[in-house]
Symmetry: C2
Subunit: 146 residues, 2 copies
């Protein structure tokens, strides 16, 4: 298991408890967590408030830099295009992902993270042992909403 993805999953659970789609994100630098966040779109009524965006915002403020060099992001669900673009724009080094997004047949996340437009490709890795717990939290959430 991975302590940083465990923390992201803990934050996804916080979202669940607040009736938000349960997604959590953590940013790590030098083996220390510098930002963590969970999805707050409904409560804050803001289309931008995905876990990754909120974590990147906190990390930029903490490091006082738009460049998150040598930082890694852990997120419980494969990022949407907005978040993948933000990860690339912030020059994050690597993204660790829990569950696959079921609507990702278009491979937009990978295309964005590895696009040559910024002369910066973001590495990414799915942590297969987290696919089941991250997905179960989402499935339980949507079942409870029906």
């Amino acid at each position: 298991m991975n302590k940083f993805m465990d923390e992201a999953l803990l934050f996804a659970n916080k979202a669940y408890n607040k009736q938000e789609v349960p997604i959590g994100a953590v940013i790590v630098k030098d083996n220390k967590i510098i930002a963590k966040a969970f999805n707050c779109r409904e409560r804050k009524q803001n289309a931008l408030y995905h876990a990754e965006i909120l974590a990147i915002n906190k990390a930029c403020k903490k490091l006082k830099s738009w460049r998150l060099d040598n930082c890694e992001l852990y997120v419980t669900l494969e990022p949407c295009p907005m978040c993948a673009g933000a990860i690339a724009n912030a020059r994050l080094k690597k993204v660790y992902i829990g569950a696959h997004e079921k609507t990702s047949e278009d491979n937009l996340c990978e295309a964005i993270l590895t696009s040559p437009r910024l002369n910066h490709k973001v590495e990414f890795e799915f942590l297969s042992e987290y696919e089941a717990p991250c997905k179960k939290l989402l499935t339980d959430f949507f079942k409870s909403k029906r």
Copy 2:
């Protein structure tokens, strides 16, 4: 000419005067401007502070809704993947664009705006009469930085 893109271009000029890459964005609902912003990445040292993201943030706060239904965005440069994703997530109806992004051979902007993942496709249109003035402002800016 178009009064909303004129306003976006005016905001791009404000960015220029503050030593920021000159890009401006305006959001319109019911033929009225509800949000306007310009790129502030360097001054604020935040990777998220593109003109479109700042305008969407303001519009969500103003309308107290993450859904910007029936809103249109005017932006002086073709959106990057982060901003195109934010535009789709906020369910904007249409985007009017000034200049083409020169590194957009990958067509990521179009792929994101028209992706079926959200059951919402964003219309988009390049306003050809603005290609030259929007591009000139960017070219002048990068020349001045050399």
